[in-house]
C-alpha cells in the first residue's frame, strides 16, 4: 500500500465503529486515483477491513459505480427504467450510442468515453435522466446531449471519479 493510501485507510477506519465500513469509501478513493478498482485495491481494502479478498470483491462487484476494469474518463450513464423510458430515454440511448459509437458497457478506444445504460437514477420527476461522472442532467433531449458532448470533448476530467 502506498503511504498515501495507508494514511487514507487509517483516517477512514477511525471514522467508523466497524473497520468494515471503511471498505467502500476506501475503494472510491482508490478508484479516484486509478480510474477503476484494481486487484491491488481489493487486496488492500480487504486487509484494512479485516475480510478476505473474495469478500471485498463480492462487495465491490455489487456496486455499479465501482468499475472492475479500466473505463473511459467521461462516464455517461443513461437511465433505462420505466419513467425515463416513457419520456424518451430509448431515443436518447440510441442517439448517444450512435454519437459515441459505443454499445452498452463499452469504452472508446482512446479511453475518453464510457457508456452504460443503468437502472433508475431516482430522478423520475425530471426524466429522462443522464448521469455524467456522478453529475445529473435532467430532461435530456438528443440536442441537449450534443451540446453536452461538445463541452465534454473540450474538457479532460482526468481518470478520476469524485471520491465521495
Amino acid at each position: 500500500m502506498t503511504p498515501e493510501r495507508e494514511r487514507r485507510a487509517s483516517e477512514l477506519v477511525a471514522r467508523y465503529p466497524e473497520s468494515q465500513s471503511a471498505l467502500i469509501p476506501f475503494l472510491q478513493f482508490c478508484q479516484a486515483h486509478d480510474g477503476y478498482v484494481t486487484q491491488q485495491a481489493i487486496h488492500d481494502a480487504a486487509e484494512i477491513a479485516g475480510i478476505t479478498p473474495g469478500e471485498a470483491e463480492s462487495i465491490a462487484s455489487f456496486y455499479t459505480l465501482l468499475f472492475k476494469e479500466p473505463v473511459g474518463k467521461h462516464k455517461i450513464q443513461v437511465c433505462r427504467t420505466l419513467s425515463c423510458m416513457l419520456r424518451g430515454a430509448d431515443e436518447l440511448q440510441q442517439h448517444v450510442r450512435q454519437r459515441l459509437g459505443l454499445g452498452n458497457g463499452e469504452s472508446s478506444p482512446d479511453g475518453r468515453f464510457y457508456y452504460e445504460e443503468v437502472e433508475c437514477l431516482a430522478a423520475c420527476d425530471r426524466a429522462p435522466c443522464l448521469q455524467h461522472n456522478l453529475e445529473f442532467h435532467y430532461d435530456v433531449t438528443p440536442e441537449d446531449f450534443d451540446r453536452l458532448l461538445d463541452e465534454w470533448r473540450a474538457s479532460d476530467p482526468g481518470v478520476s471519479m469524485p471520491a465521495e
Partner: protein, 807 residues
C-alpha cells in the same frame, strides 16, 4: 455446560397437528418434528437461516402475507398451514421465478435424480414457464479449482455453498459477485477455490450447479449401490457412504453422525479412492526373484512368506509392524498372530512420531469441543491431521467465542483467532509442569508473566479440552497431571489424542504394542518397539520382519535407520495396497484389500468403535489382512484362535477390549512402552550459518502409498517445501520459489523455499511424508533433525516455460 437459561416450550398447530417445541425453534424445524416436510433450498439445518429462496412459504393465521418457514420462529398458539391452496400458489410462483433462467438440462446434469429443484418442481411447480424472452446465459462448466466445476446457469443463488465456506469452514473464499439476476458464485479474481472441505458444497448444492470433478458425468444416482462405511484417512472416523456401480467406486457421500463428523467430510476422505483403479494398485502378490519383483499367486506368496516367518520365529528373531491402518479385527488378529502363532511380543503399530494414541485418563468426546470454553492444542496440527475435528474447533471459536490456545513450535494456518504459545518441543513438558504448579498454588500466588497468564486462562475456563498428538511422553504426562489439578478444582476437563493413522487407537487397544495385550492388558513383559526392531534389523540381529499396512520407510522419523534395517533384514514381507516405499524393499509383497473391499470396525480418536460395510469386491489375488493372516496361520499349522465368522470375531474383540476405556486419575490406563529417545534435540542444535533445525510439518494431501498414487488428489498435493523465517531466508540468500538442498544425517532432499514468519528463526519447517523428498532422511528418532541448506536453483534462473509452436 453452557449457561443458557432454560428455554420455554411452546405449543403450536401445524396442519391440524399439535406440536410442542422449545422457544426459538424455526417453523420449518417444528414442522419437521410434526412430520411435515416443508421444501427448502437455502435453508440448511447446520447454518443460519438466510431467507433467500422463498420456497418454504407457509400460511400463518393472523399474518396477512405468506411467511418463510425457515426464518420465522414459533410462537405459542401459532396456527400454521403448509399445504393450503395459498401456499401451493406461492410455491408455484417462487418455482416459476427460480426456473426463469434455469437451463433445464436435467438429462445431462449430474444432479438429475437427486435434485431438489427437479423434485420440488415435480411436486409443486408449474408445468410450463410463461417467459417468452430468451433466457439469461451465464458461464457453464466454470473450473472453480482442483475439485469443483460450477454451472452458473443452474445456480439458484441459495448461497448454501458460500455460507458453508463462511459459517462452517470460516474461510470465506467462495462469494457471490455482482447482484440481482446477474449474481455469480465466484472467488477473488477467479482464483482457485481451494479448501479442504470443498466437496461438501457439491452435496449441499440443492441443484446441479456445483459438481465434483471426480463424479462428473460418471453415473446416475439411481444406478448406484450404497455401502455405509467409515473414512480411515485420519483418526476422526467420519461416517460416509461409498457409492459404487458395477463394482467400481463412483463417489463417496456424507452419512451424518452429528457426534463425530457433524455431517461433513474432508476432501482427502472424499476423493481418495481412484488409486484403486490405477496401474500402481497391487492386484496380486509380488515375489522378489533376482532382485526383481515378479507377480505371484496368493497361495505362492503365502507359502514362501509363512516358511520364512516360521524359520525366523523358531529363533525368536521375528518382528511385526503395523495395525494402525488395519481394522480393529485385523489389528487384533495381527497381535494374535505375533503372540500366539509366531510366539513373539515384537509387535508395534507406531511407525511415525506418535507414542500414545489415547489419553490414560480424562478422556473426551469430540462433542465436548462444542461445550468447551478453552481449547488447548499441544503440537497436533489439527487442520492438516484431523480436518473435521478442526471444523468443530473453528465453530467453537468463531461462533461461541471459545478461546483457542496453540502450544507448539510453529503456528498452524487457522482461519479463526488462535493464541500461539511458541514452545520448543522438548520444553513443553516443563511449561506444563509450571502450569500445574501455578494452578495448584492458587490464584494469589500466580504472580505475573506468561505462565501466570496462561494459568489464569485455565483457571477462568469453564470447560477445558486439550488436544495433543501423543508424541512427547514427558509432556503428555505433565499435561495429564495438569488436567488432574484442574479436575481437582472442579474444572471439567477432557483430552483428545489425534491419531497418527486412521486406526491408531484401535491398534493400540487391540494390543499392537510390545508390552500390552488386547484391552490394555499388562503383560508384565515386553517385546521390541518398532524403533528397536529397526535397530536390531540394521545390526543384523533380526531374521524376519512382517509389515502390514505401514510405510515406515517414509513415515518413521529415523529414515536412515529404516533404510538400513529394510536392506539388511534377511526376510521382509509387506502387505499393502500399492508398492509403497517400504514394500519396494520386500522379498514378498502381499496385495491387501482396501477398506472399501472388506468389512469390520475401526476405532476413532475418541475411542468410538464404528462398523464399516464392504462396498466392492477385491481383485482375486487380493486379500484382506484378516484373510492373509488366517492363511499364514493355516499354512503354519497353528491353532488359530481367530474365528472365521466376522460376528464371532467382533464379539471376542469386544470382550477383551471391555477394559479399554481410559479410567479415573487414580486408575489410569497403562501406557504402551516407549523406547529411549530424546525429544530435546531441537534445543541442542545450534543454528549456525547455514544449519537449520528440521521440523517436519504435516499436510492433508501429503503421504506415500495410496495417496501418492491417487489421481483424484494429485492436483491438490503440495510440492515438497521448506519454510524459512524471512531473516533466515535473507541470511542464506534465498527467496520464495528457489530450490534448496537440505543435507542431513541420512542424505539430502531438494525442496522449494517458502518464506514465512510462522517459521521460527534457525528452523526449517519441512513438508513431511513426501516420497520424492522424504524428510525422515534428515531426522533422528526424536522426530527432529538438523541440516544444512544450500541453494541449488534460483527461481529467477528457472528455465522459461517451453512454448509449443504448432505449424
Amino acid at each position: 455446560m453452557s449457561k443458557q437459561p432454560a428455554r420455554r416450550n411452546l405449543t403450536l398447530t401445524i396442519d391440524g397437528r399439535q406440536v410442542t417445541v422449545p422457544e426459538g425453534t424455526l417453523v420449518v424445524e417444528a414442522a419437521r418434528q410434526a412430520g411435515f416436510n416443508i421444501p427448502v433450498y437455502c435453508y440448511h439445518p447446520k447454518m443460519d437461516p438466510a431467507g433467500l429462496c422463498r420456497i418454504c412459504l407457509v400460511e400463518i393465521e393472523k399474518i396477512p402475507k405468506l411467511q418463510i418457514a425457515c426464518n420465522t420462529q414459533v410462537a405459542d398458539g401459532m396456527v400454521v398451514h403448509t399445504m393450503s391452496p395459498r401456499v401451493a400458489e406461492g410455491r408455484r410462483g417462487v418455482l416459476e421465478f427460480l426456473l426463469l433462467n434455469h437451463p433445464l438440462d436435467c438429462p445431462i446434469c449430474d444432479k438429475g435424480g437427486e435434485c431438489d429443484l427437479q423434485d420440488f418442481t415435480m411436486s409443486y411447480g408449474p408445468g410450463a414457464s410463461r417467459l417468452t424472452e430468451p433466457k439469461l446465459h451465464k458461464p457453464k462448466a466454470v473450473d472453480l479449482g482442483p475439485t469443483i466445476v460450477l454451472d452458473e446457469e443452474r445456480c439458484i443463488l441459495c448461497r448454501r455453498c458460500t455460507r458453508f465456506d463462511d459459517e462452517i469452514a470460516q474461510e470465506r473464499n467462495l462469494v457471490v459477485n455482482e447482484r440481482g439476476h446477474h449474481s455469480l458464485i465466484a472467488t477473488a479474481d477467479g482464483s482457485d477455490y481451494r479448501s479442504y472441505f470443498s466437496g461438501n458444497t457439491t452435496e449441499i448444492c440443492p441443484v446441479g450447479a456445483l459438481t465434483s470433478k471426480a463424479y462428473r458425468f460418471r453415473s446416475r444416482p439411481w444406478d448406484l449401490s450404497h455401502a455405509d462405511s467409515v473414512c480411515t484417512q485420519c483418526s476422526v472416523g467420519c461416517n460416509y457412504r461409498i457409492d459404487s456401480r458395477f463394482g467400481r467406486i463412483m463417489r463417496t457421500f456424507t452419512r451424518e453422525n452429528t457426534a463425530v463428523d457433524d455431517g461433513w467430510i474432508c476432501d482427502r476422505g472424499r476423493y481418495t479412492f481412484n488409486y484403486l483403479y490405477e496401474p500402481s494398485r497391487l492386484r496380486q502378490p509380488l515375489i522378489k526373484r533376482d532382485g526383481e519383483h515378479q507377480p505371484a499367486t496368493f497361495d505362492e506368496a503365502i507359502a514362501i512368506a509363512a516358511e520364512r516367518l516360521r524359520t525366523a520365529a523358531r529363533k525368536g528373531s521375528v518382528g511385526i509392524i503395523g495395525g494402525g491402518r488395519l481394522s480393529d479385527e485385523e489389528a487384533f488378529a495381527l497381535q494374535q498372530f505375533a503372540r500366539e502363532v509366531l510366539g513373539t511380543d515384537n509387535i508395534d503399530h507406531r511407525v511415525g512420531l506418535q507414542k500414545y494414541a489415547s489419553p490414560s485418563r480424562h478422556e473426551a468426546r469430540l462433542e465436548d469441543i462444542d461445550d468447551a470454553s478453552l481449547i488447548v492444542i499441544f503440537g497436533a496440527i489439527t487442520p492438516e491431521q484431523a480436518p473435521i475435528l478442526d471444523l468443530r474447533l473453528r465453530r467453537a471459536v468463531a461462533r461461541r467465542h471459545a478461546k483457542l490456545l496453540f502450544v507448539g513450535p510453529y503456528k498452524p494456518d487457522l482461519p479463526v483467532p488462535c493464541r500461539h504459545v511458541e514452545y520448543t518441543p522438548g520444553a513443553i513438558a516443563e511449561l506444563m509442569e509450571q502450569l500445574a504448579d501455578v494452578v495448584h498454588h492458587g490464584r494469589e500466588e500466580r504472580g505475573e508473566g506468561f505462565v501466570a497468564e496462561i494459568a489464569q486462562e485455565l483457571a477462568d475456563a469453564e470447560r477445558i479440552i486439550a488436544v495433543h498428538n501423543g508424541r512427547d511422553p514427558g509432556a503428555i504426562e505433565a499435561l495429564e497431571k495438569l488436567m488432574d489439578r484442574l479436575h481437582d478444582y472442579d474444572h471439567p476437563v477432557g483430552i483428545l489424542v489425534v491419531g497418527a493413522t486412521g486406526n491408531a487407537r484401535g491398534a493400540e487397544a487391540a494390543g499392537c504394542v510390545p508390552n500390552l495385550g488386547p484391552g490394555y492388558a499388562e503383560l508384565g513383559r515386553s517385546g521390541m518397539t518398532a524403533a528397536e526392531m529397526f535397530a536390531a534389523a540394521a545390526d543384523g540381529k533380526l531374521d524376519a520382519l512382517y509389515i502390514a499396512g505401514a510405510n515406515p520407510a517414509l513415515t518413521f522419523p529415523d529414515g536412515e535407520l529404516v533404510r538400513r534395517a529394510l536392506q539388511r533384514v534377511p526376510f521382509l514381507a509387506v502387505a499393502d495396497q500399492v508398492l509403497t516405499e517400504t514394500a519396494a524393499y520386500a522379498d514378498v509383497v502381499l496385495a491387501a484389500a482396501s477398506f472399501a473391499e472388506k468389512s469390520g470396525h475401526v476405532t476413532n480418536l475418541e475411542g468410538r468403535q464404528q462398523a464399516f460395510a464392504q462396498a466392492i469386491e477385491p481383485p482375486v489375488h487380493v486379500g484382506s489382512d484378516l484373510r492373509i493372516l488366517a492363511a499364514f496361520a493355516q499354512t503354519l499349522g497353528k491353532e488359530w484362535a481367530i474365528p472365521d465368522d466376522a460376528d464371532a470375531l467382533f464379539a471376542q474383540l469386544r470382550h477383551v477390549q471391555r477394559a479399554a476405556r481410559p479410567r479415573s486419575p487414580k486408575d489410569p490406563l497403562p501406557r504402551p512402552r516407549v523406547d529411549e529417545t530424546s525429544l530435546s534435540s531441537a534445543d541442542q542444535v545450534d543454528a549456525t550459518h547455514q544449519r537449520f533445525t528440521i521440523i517436519p510439518v504435516p499436510r492433508l494431501y501429503a503421504g506415500g502409498g495410496a495417496s501418492a498414487h491417487d489421481p483424484g488428489i494429485a492436483a491438490m498435493r503440495p510440492a515438497p517445501f521448506a519454510t524459512f523465517h524471512p531473516d533466515d531466508a535473507a541470511r542464506i540468500g534465498v527467496v520464495h520459489g528457489d530450490m534448496v538442498r537440505l543435507q542431513g544425517r541420512g542424505g539430502s532432499i531438494d525442496v522449494e523455499v517458502h518464506v514465512g514468519p510462522q517459521a521460527p528463526t534457525g528452523v526449517a519447517l519441512v513438508l513431511a511424508d513426501m516420497p520424492q523428498a522424504p524428510v525422515n532422511r534428515l531426522l533422528d528418532a526424536s522426530g527432529f533433525g538438523s541440516a544444512t541448506a544450500i541453494k541449488v536453483r534460483s527461481v529467477a534462473a528457472a528455465p522459461p516455460e517451453t512454448i509449443e509452436v504448432t505449424a
